[in-house]
């Protein structure tokens, strides 16, 4: 079947000129790289990776906040990838080496358990992630967490990041592969604006190599027909309305606010904060943390360009020289979903289109 789709892709793209398709999901990038999908595509079709790595987009200032809370004696619980992400002056792992109590968890429910077991310690859950992850934090907030647990909410929303990408004049994206698991929660509806207002073919896709190939074909087919529509390749999981229950939890727990993205600056209405009703569980309010503006991008690192798909990792002069998975310089090399890390793990040294 893969061969058949690739034939279709070849036929459809033949007279199209150069086509640039953008996805916004670390798991898509992993699948595309792992299965060598770029090498299966015709020369005039390129796939770029947008800001789809939740760990990478968390700005240094918010890492700094978590470190400050740890220095004040709180136990910081976070997802594994967060440990090594650079803040302005070091990472949570550095703080841990200096004695801070930083614990890696698989799930926010683990933190709730820990906080119950150790009522004499203050726990802060560093809540990062996109719409896929935000509902689980919301559930625990609404459920009424133990008194010694608060939340450093750093959740981000994907559609505003996609709007940023279409607004970047010299990026010239021709179509979007929308992220399957974010869409499980938000449904198709929020992407309507991309075909309607920006004439951007948009296809929600799953994570099997065939899913991605079909999504690429669906986008090419729209372009060839001169259409811009919203289509669903991942209908075995994603519906038009998404997971309504999850949306209700999010609407109750959070307000949507402007948010900084690492290296991309402030994006309007792109971040979540706990709503007034739950502000007593907001670690920022509870402990009154204030940090300076963070240093997002270390000198020489090109993560800000990697994250919008403007360049590919081998175009960064530090890639696999000064910056490796063992000694990462930028967030894109730290996270398993970071484009640099994924390319490095697959030992991709160069790339030409």
């Amino acid at each position: 079947m893969a061969k058949k789709v690739i034939d279709k892709i070849n036929d459809t793209s033949r007279e199209l000129g150069y086509v640039k398709i953008c996805h916004v999901c670390g798991t898509h990038e992993w699948a595309i790289t792992h299965y060598g999908i770029r090498s299966l595509l015709p020369k005039n079709v390129d796939v770029i990776a947008g800001p789809g790595c939740p760990v990478c987009v968390t700005p240094a200032s918010e890492i700094d906040e978590s470190i400050k809370l740890a220095e004040n004696g709180a136990v910081i619980a976070c997802y594994g990838d967060m440990l090594r992400v650079p803040g302005s002056h070091g990472s949570l792992l550095d703080a841990k080496a200096e004695g801070a109590d930083i614990r890696v968890v698989y799930s926010v429910s683990d933190v709730v358990k820990m906080a119950r077991q150790e009522p004499n310690r203050e726990f802060v859950f560093f809540a990062i992630g996109f719409e896929t992850t935000a509902p689980s934090t919301a559930i625990e907030v609404l459920r009424g967490p133990p008194k010694n647990l608060s939340f450093l909410v750093s959740h981000r929303l994907i559609p505003p990041a996609m709007e940023l990408l279409v607004g970047i004049g010299d990026l010239h994206i021709d179509g979007f592969i929308a992220p399957g698991h974010v869409s499980t929660i938000i449904g198709l509806k929020p992407y309507e604006i991309f075909p309607r207002a920006y004439r951007m073919p948009t296809v929600v896709a799953g994570f099997e190599p065939l899913d991605i190939l079909f999504a690429i074909y669906m986008i090419l087919r729209q372009i060839k027909r001169g259409e811009a529509r919203l289509e669903n390749e991942y209908m075995r999981v994603v519906s038009w309305d998404g997971n309504i229950k999850a949306q209700e939890f999010m609407n109750k727990a959070y307000n949507v606010v402007d948010g900084n993205w690492r290296g991309l600056g402030k994006l309007p209405l792109s971040a979540l904060r706990l709503s007034e009703k739950y502000s007593k569980f907001d670690a920022r309010e509870k402990f009154g943390v204030k940090v300076e503006e963070g240093e997002d991008i270390h000198p020489g690192c090109q993560c800000h360009l990697i994250m919008i798909g403007k360049i590919k990792p081998p175009e960064c002069p530090l890639y696999m020289r000064a910056c490796t998975p063992q000694r990462p310089i930028g967030a894109c090399m730290v996270s398993m979903e970071g484009t640099c890390r994924i390319w490095a793990k697959h030992q991709i040294k160069n790339y030409e289109i």
Binding site: S107, P135, F214
Partner: protein, 79 residues
């Protein structure tokens, strides 16, 4: 992080369920966000089920893929 993995529900107790990820990997997950029965498959992300997977929908995908592949054959070539 946005990876979600399918698992089969083995036992449900309130908003918690025991699920089987295959190869004997069992875990307790939270099922607050879904209406699920024992024996069904859910998509699990960071310890929370975010969607129920139904076998019908898997068939739908195959149907969609086949339609996509056949589509242009039935139409006269557009130039």
């Amino acid at each position: 992080m946005c990876l979600a993995i399918p698992a089969r529900v083995v036992d449900i107790n309130g908003n918690k369920a025991k699920v089987d990820f295959g190869e004997g990997i069992m875990r307790e997950v939270d099922v607050t966000l879904v209406n699920v029965k024992v024996g069904e498959y859910v998509l699990v992300h960071a310890g929370y089920a975010i969607q129920v997977l139904s076998p019908d929908e898997a068939e739908e995908t195959i149907k969609l893929w086949n339609e996509l592949l056949e589509f242009e054959k039935q139409q006269p070539k557009m130039r």
